[in-house]
């Protein structure tokens, strides 16, 4: 399928791979600076309180303490937030969660910093706190922000749901809950910085969005753009939480006042306490089908707990509402998701922005309907699945690249085989086996808002190429993929291209590495720039080769004519000639997906320019005496448009499945209880299934070489597939995540499986 391409579609070696296997990449905690001071934040003693006084005098007297700063030392706007600004860097008159910072200490050693923290005396006036979002919505609940406890409500309305339920043959109404989840990237948040000779604050950060960090620091400290430089250090995973300003603001504050090198590396415990979590959801869902199993109405009322601050809460509420129908065509839609403030640690972006939570609900409902109607779970998905020509819940007409049914068809043979040879065979009398499906759709990019990317591609007069992109590489492989796209356009090897990534002095804004958007959006931006450069090279070649421009192609470092490979001219020669004439060899690229903002009342609009689709099948075995669930195998079919780098796509799918298994079976962050990695278990190599990754390529016409995205889609179907698998094994359904040992054991007991099976 990819034969016509030389770089695209090939699993080339990852840029920076050699350095990574040698342990060479410099993460923010590894950066060598001249005797950097250590930073530490004094955090709130209460989940909700007014601050009456902060006394830092004692702390300042401690040997080795070089500075203590509070909100009074922040000269600009002391408010953070990429969508809504509601989070102070350091608290002013009120603390809203245990994560809230009150003062920053800079000291010569860790020990001195800790003594400094302990010596800061804060007088509080304790306020009643609320942790449950349903409680927070009630009259008389403690008010966390001046505007009230509702951060945002997103409604998606289409047709008339009441009419749909009226006509329905089968109606199923259930409630699902999910837990707060810790991202648990392996590298705890870190940053370091110094002030350069021009007085610029130079900050190395573990980040998903260096240009956003830059903007926030400029605003916090009332500086000019050129006085802040963010350099993305090697970043050890992010999964959404490194979209927030975790340590960058503290480093900036210390640099601003002390002007000496500083470093802040969170311990795992501090990363747990102080950084965002996945929003826990409570989802009430009512769905209806006709006699044949066709979905005719969906009503969802969901509440998600954003904790003390918004972070990406608005995006989570909005995206989850849009995705509430699942990848199905539903005539009558009535969805409302409320995002509510509480006094928990704030929740933000995490791989999927609410779509994984919603997928548990819509996919469980599909299986429940199938069961009631006596239809196979795969058949009911095929019957209702989105296709070209379908209208989404927001009224968007899907015109191309809807590979959902291709994913279902790809799964089908594995599914039929699993039903035959897996489910029916039982290894011991205490175990039961099941197979479950999970499906999803996922809009690429931010929801109904502009989210452009820019990039620059530059050729030197000697023909060497450099790509400048603000796109943060987190390990997922964006740098490699962007390089492949440029290599393809310019007809050179990816090895010949230098990549300058995530340095606000040299790169322009690519937006966040989130929302599975970088391959599609930054991919198009680098493609745009590379095409402009290719165009001047081709124009220049016309003169030399004396043939029409439309017969020229760039390949193997030359411009040649189609059909006559012997007649060619090297790009270095062309670059030199263009340069000598004063021509332009450095081009800026831009791409912003076409969206239409969602109507605030009805949610109507075009939230995304394109969607990824997927279906996963999980084969599970349940120990009916212990509740232990083994996920034996997951078959994962993903429509990615086009895989620019197939093995990177497989890597995303395997990683997503692993995180999905954690979400399904073991992960739950409990504030006050989950303190360190001894309290929070993510899947080990022994916990993950074998993954059969199937790449479906339903080309997206607006994507770079047809590509869409896969980072978040990889995770979304896994938990529902596992939960449906457990239900298939036990004939008993679990509605709450995680399906922990206790919950599965309880299900086993309720279903009458606790004991030796009589065969």
């Amino acid at each position: 399928m990819n034969k016509k391409y030389r770089s695209v579609g090939r699993s080339i070696r990852k840029k920076g791979g050699v350095e990574k296997v040698k342990g060479d990449p410099v993460f923010a905690g590894d950066i060598e600076l001249d005797n950097p001071l250590v930073l530490k934040v004094k955090r709130s003693a209460y989940a909700h309180a007014l601050i009456r006084n902060i006394n830092t005098e004692e702390a300042l007297k401690i040997d080795g303490v070089k500075g203590v700063f509070t909100s009074k030392d922040i000269p600009g706007v002391n408010l953070l937030g990429i969508i809504n600004r509601d989070q102070p860097l350091l608290a002013e008159e009120r603390v809203r969660s245990l994560a809230d910072g009150i003062a920053l200490v800079a000291a010569e050693t860790e020990e001195a910093a800790q003594l400094g923290i302990d010596a800061i005396h804060v007088e509080y006036e304790k306020l009643p706190a609320v942790f449950n979002p349903v409680e927070a919505l009630k009259d008389g609940a403690p008010k966390i922000h001046a505007k009230g406890n509702v951060l945002f409500t997103r409604a998606v309305l289409k047709g008339n749901a009441d009419d749909g339920f009226e006509k329905a043959y089968s109606i199923i109404e259930k409630e699902y809950t999910t837990s707060a989840i810790e991202h648990n990237y392996m590298e705890p948040d870190a940053g370091a910085g110094f002030v350069d000779e021009d007085g610029c604050l130079v900050i190395y950060a573990s980040t998903q969005n260096p240009h956003y960090d830059h903007k926030e620091l400029v605003s916090l400290f009332a500086l000019e753009d050129e006085n802040v430089r963010i350099i993305q250090a090697a970043t050890g995973g992010g999964f959404g939480s490194k979209l927030d300003l975790n340590v960058q603001g503290f480093i900036g504050l210390a640099l601003l006042h002390l002007k000496v090198p500083v470093r802040y590396v969170y311990s795992r415990e501090e990363a747990y306490l102080a950084t965002a979590k996945r929003h826990p959801f409570t989802i009430k869902i009512k769905t209806a089908t006709d006699r044949d199993g066709r979905l005719i109405a969906t009503r969802v009322r969901a509440v998600c707990n954003t904790g003390a601050y918004g972070s990406y809460g608005i995006a989570v509420a909005s995206r989850s509402a849009v995705h509430g129908t699942g990848p199905y065509s539903v005539e009558n839609v009535d969805i409302e998701v409320k995002c509510v403030y509480t006094n928990q640690t704030y929740c933000g972006a995490m791989r999927g922005f609410g779509a994984p939570q919603m997928a548990l609900a819509h996919e469980s409902q599909m299986d429940l309907h199938a069961e009631v109607l006596g239809i196979d779970p795969l058949a009911i998905r095929l019957l209702n699945g989105l296709e070209v020509g379908s209208l989404s819940g927001t009224g968007q007409l899907l015109t191309s690249s809807v590979g959902f049914k291709d994913c279902l068809h790809a799964i089908a043979p594995y599914y039929e085989e699993a039903k035959k040879s897996w489910v029916s065979t039982c290894s011991t009398p205490f175990k039961r086996r099941g197979v479950g499906l999970g499906a999803m759709w996922y809009g690429i990019g931010n929801t109904g808002v502009q989210n452009p990317s820019t990039a620059r591609v530059t050729m030197e007069p000697d023909g060497t190429v450099t790509v400048f992109t603000g796109c943060a590489e987190l390990g997922q492989g964006s740098t490699t993929v962007l390089c492949q796209i440029v290599a393809e356009i310019l007809g050179i090897s990816p090895d010949e291209i230098s990549m300058v990534v995530g340095d606000t002095r040299y790169t322009t804004n690519a937006g966040a590495t989130s929302a599975s958007r970088q391959t599609y959006i930054s991919g198009n931006a680098v493609k745009d720039a590379a095409e402009s450069l290719a165009n001047v090279l081709l124009t220049e070649a016309v003169n030399r080769l004396q043939v029409p421009k439309n017969t020229l192609v760039l390949e193997n470092g030359e411009v040649t004519t189609t059909g006559n490979p012997d007649c060619g001219i090297g790009i270095a020669v062309l670059a030199g000639r263009i340069h000598d004439k004063g021509g332009v060899l450095s081009w800026q690229g831009y791409f912003d997906p076409e969206t239409v903002p969602l109507d605030p009342k009805t949610g109507a609009g075009v939230p995304y320019a394109t969607y990824a689709f997927a279906c996963q099948m999980a084969m599970v075995e349940v120990d009916t005496l212990t509740g232990e669930v083994t996920v034996e195998k997951v078959v994962a079919a993903h429509d990615v448009g086009r895989a620019i780098h197939p093995e990177n796509v497989v890597g995303q799918i395997c990683g997503g499945v692993a995180m999905g298994v954690g979400f399904a079976l073991m992960e739950k962050f409990e504030q006050g209880k989950t303190e360190s990695m001894k309290d929070y278990h993510i899947p080990t190599a022994s916990d993950v299934p074998e993954v059969v990754a199937i790449i479906v390529e339903s080309e997206e016409p607006t994507g770079p070489f047809g590509a869409k995205g896969v980072g978040e889609p990889a995770l979304i179907p896994t938990a529902p597939a596992v939960i449906n698998g457990i239900s298939s094994a036990l004939n008993y359904r679990i509605y709450d995540l995680p399906a922990s040992l206790e919950r599965v054991l309880e299900a086993s007991i309720q279903a009458g499986h606790f004991g030796v099976q009589e065969e």
Binding site: K20, V21, G23, M186, G237, E647, G651, A658, V688
Partner: protein, 163 residues
């Protein structure tokens, strides 16, 4: 603050060193902060994640759980000692070829565990490999491409027997 120091003598990546260290610091601290070898990482500080894995007398250990003083008279290997001069170890090659590396933070520890494991077990099956790396957490890859890399390395004579 305890400023007692202790002198230790050990071999690190084939080089003999003698140094004074604070008596209370971990082996990881000695390696990162005193030896300046930053390839070993601290992911949790309590022995849960394996990012700090090094080899001490050919055994993989969590260096965050070991006192620096315990390195005395030991033979220590870190990720920096795996490739010889400019040549990658075949295990490293396999990790690259099979796309086992994403963010790279867990990679040094994983390579140390795997390298030590293959010295003890020259012909492990997939399940044994899985168990051997179960103490090294990775949040990016889902482990599959890592396990495949290790299987590929088993086909390569030079990866076995503790080369």
């Amino acid at each position: 603050m305890n400023q007692n120091t202790v002198q230790i003598e050990f071999t690190i990546n084939g080089k003999k060193v003698t140094t004074n260290i604070p008596s209370h610091v971990t082996a990881l601290h000695v390696i990162r902060e005193i030896m300046g070898l930053k390839g070993s990482k601290e992911g949790c500080g309590i022995g849960e994640c394996g990012a700090c894995t090094i080899q001490v007398d050919d055994k993989a250990v969590n260096s965050c759980l070991m006192l620096g003083a315990q390195l005395h008279n030991r033979d220590v290997m870190t990720i920096e000692g795996l490739s010889k001069e400019k040549k990658l170890h075949p295990l490293q090659e396999k990790f690259i070829e099979n796309h086992a590396v994403q963010c790279g933070f867990c990679t040094p520890g994983l390579l140390m565990s795997t390298h030590a494991f293959l010295k003890e077990n020259e012909n492990p099956d997939r399940q044994e490999i899985t168990r051997a790396i179960a103490g090294n957490l990775c949040r990016c890859t889902g482990y599959q491409q890592i396990i495949t890399s290790i299987e590929a390395a088993l086909q390569d004579e030079s990866c076995r027997g503790g080369e």
